[in-house]
Symmetry: C2
Subunit: 346 residues, 2 copies
């Protein structure tokens, strides 16, 4: 596609693009065209994550998605698994606690042929914490560090001390102090749910005459989800002795087969919360970043478990922060000098 | 195949077959030709579990496996998932604690055309315990009840009180009192390992240059297994916060990629043991029934966790009981009057 310039988007104009920001993960690519101050001028998304890109195909996929956004001199910055060994270029992890300056210092470029010559995409490093096994395990993230930096920019009240939860395939619980990520832990909740649904006995039809699993009506589905959360709360020994109950409750006639996957979802999310939330951290604000439908499940589980909304001023549960990804990419680009700050654009 | 009679196997002879005993599960079929006293005259096995039998194909598979074993009047008894809703005929669960008499009373026949006319296969019922959710979950078994009855026949010292562990796809921990199964719990350890290995990021190659996961040499593999057990022991919050360490230890350079699946195995088995073994049941003998290679892993984990071998007289760990399946089928057949007891065959 040839570049299409609208008058307001001319270079230097008030709507001039300043940064192409990319969230490029394992299963999806999201792209943002950002103007002055990080304002979102346009956005695109495609199911073109690492798993869907053929070997050597990253440049072609990027050209296809960005199309008319690209022009000479417009910087591009990406975060996520695109910087992993399975991605476009492996960007070494930043080892240890990290703030914005650490991420900016670790950017690595990918030389990439654009339609108008050589352009450069830079990739944000992930974070690796070595830990001290077996008590404290090593941890890694790629992409979430950028979202957390975005959240801290959008909500300065979180900078001093916060816990930021990013539900997903690999849920992250991130501890923040003084604007830096000091520690975090990963829960494979989303991936566990996906593989159990697709490949285990818990996802198979439980009886010949039963409705298919996952076909419950909304009220029934939420009731089953709540039961799963309750079971996780009652479980003294963690998930292992509980998983099979997603099947046995149905066989015992105590749970509709159609709602068994909602029960499993409640079980897994409830167990994550039970394991992740130490007793008594009432002063630390809690925030959520993620898919709104998934965040709704987490908020419901928080409430069900009787956990206080510890985010200052939000007694009804943790606060959701939208727009963290693009904000994080913008502020990382600012810290790296790829784009100009407010004082320079005024 | 036509029946082939050897002289010693003539009806009424000392080696005359008395029972065809079948262990017919989800992935495999094992068949035993039993003589007087339950002595094994012959055995066969085939990868013809429920998942490999086409709809309506149970009789044909059975005829193929049994072949020349079959003759008019020779009873056949099966235990396992063949009696489930997905099996040949659904045999209602026995609800509640169960002994041999309960199982014998619940046998259901499958009319089945043999090569010499109408023969009958009977199927042993499974057990369902309703529980009292969310504190005590419902539980089900099909097949293990027969193995436990066999173990109690082979080891009368276990009848008064015992804990019998059956590692596998769905590991069972069975409490026995006065010769009856009084309660049990299921751990999806084997299935969890299988789906995580085949379908999750934990089973994928961790770096382009790494050895494939699961290709460690034996010493390295056992060391990784032990580390997984240690991590499960150290884990205060169960499996959820630990699973991802099978990946991060490799990324941090602290575990060989080739040994990561052995580590995962140790993590899952260690967590099962940690969750299943309440503190302080020193007087109850503990026994294992299962695949010898898998039992070896469990015995190693028991030792690693510092758990006493509580089986009377075996301070070095739980005792493995071989031949429990065929013994259980024989004794169930005896209790049901399908075969004659010792006093009648003398």
């Amino acid at each position: 596609m040839p570049p299409v310039d609208t008058p307001g988007r001319a270079a230097g104009g008030p709507d001039a693009p300043r940064l192409i920001a990319l969230d490029w993960g394992t299963t999806a690519l999201r792209a943002f065209l950002l103007g002055a101050g990080g304002r979102v001028l346009d956005r695109r998304a495609a199911p073109r994550g690492l798993l869907q890109v053929p070997p050597g195909g990253f440049a072609a996929v990027l050209a296809e998605i960005l199309g008319d956004w690209r022009r000479p001199g417009l910087p591009a910055l990406a975060a996520g698994m695109v910087g992993s060994a399975q991605g476009w270029r492996e960007v070494p992890y930043h080892r240890g606690p990290a703030g914005l300056a650490d991420l900016a210092a670790g950017l690595l470029p990918v030389p990439e042929k654009g339609p108008e010559g050589e352009a450069v995409l830079r990739i944000v490093p992930g974070i690796l914490l070595d830990g001290a096994p077996p008590e404290v395990m090593p941890e890694v993230m790629r992409g979430e560090e950028t979202q957390v930096m975005g959240a801290l920019a959008l909500e300065p009240g979180l900078r001093a001390a916060a816990r930021i939860v990013l539900p997903g395939t690999h849920s992250k619980w991130v501890a923040v102090r003084d604007g830096r990520i000091t520690s975090f832990r990963t829960y494979m909740t989303g991936e566990l749910f996906a593989v159990l649904r697709a490949h285990s006995i818990l996802g198979r039809a439980l009886a010949p005459s039963a409705q298919p699993a996952g076909a419950a009506d909304e009220e029934e589905a939420w009731a089953a989800f709540d039961r799963g959360v309750d079971a996780a709360r009652a479980g003294k020994a963690g998930l292992a002795p509980l998983l099979f109950s997603a099947r046995t409750l149905v066989l015992a006639g105590a749970l509709p087969a159609a709602a068994s996957l909602d029960y499993l979802s409640g079980l897994l999310i409830g167990d994550e919360l039970r394991a992740a939330l130490p007793v008594g951290e009432p002063g630390i604000p809690l925030a959520l970043i993620g898919d709104p439908a998934l965040c709704r499940r987490y908020r419901r589980a928080f409430a069900r478990l009787g956990l206080p909304g510890t985010h200052a001023g939000t007694p009804d549960g943790p606060r959701e922060i939208a727009g963290a990804t693009e904000a994080g990419l913008w502020h990382t680009a600012l810290a790296a000098g790829l784009v100009a700050g407010p004082e320079e654009t005024r």
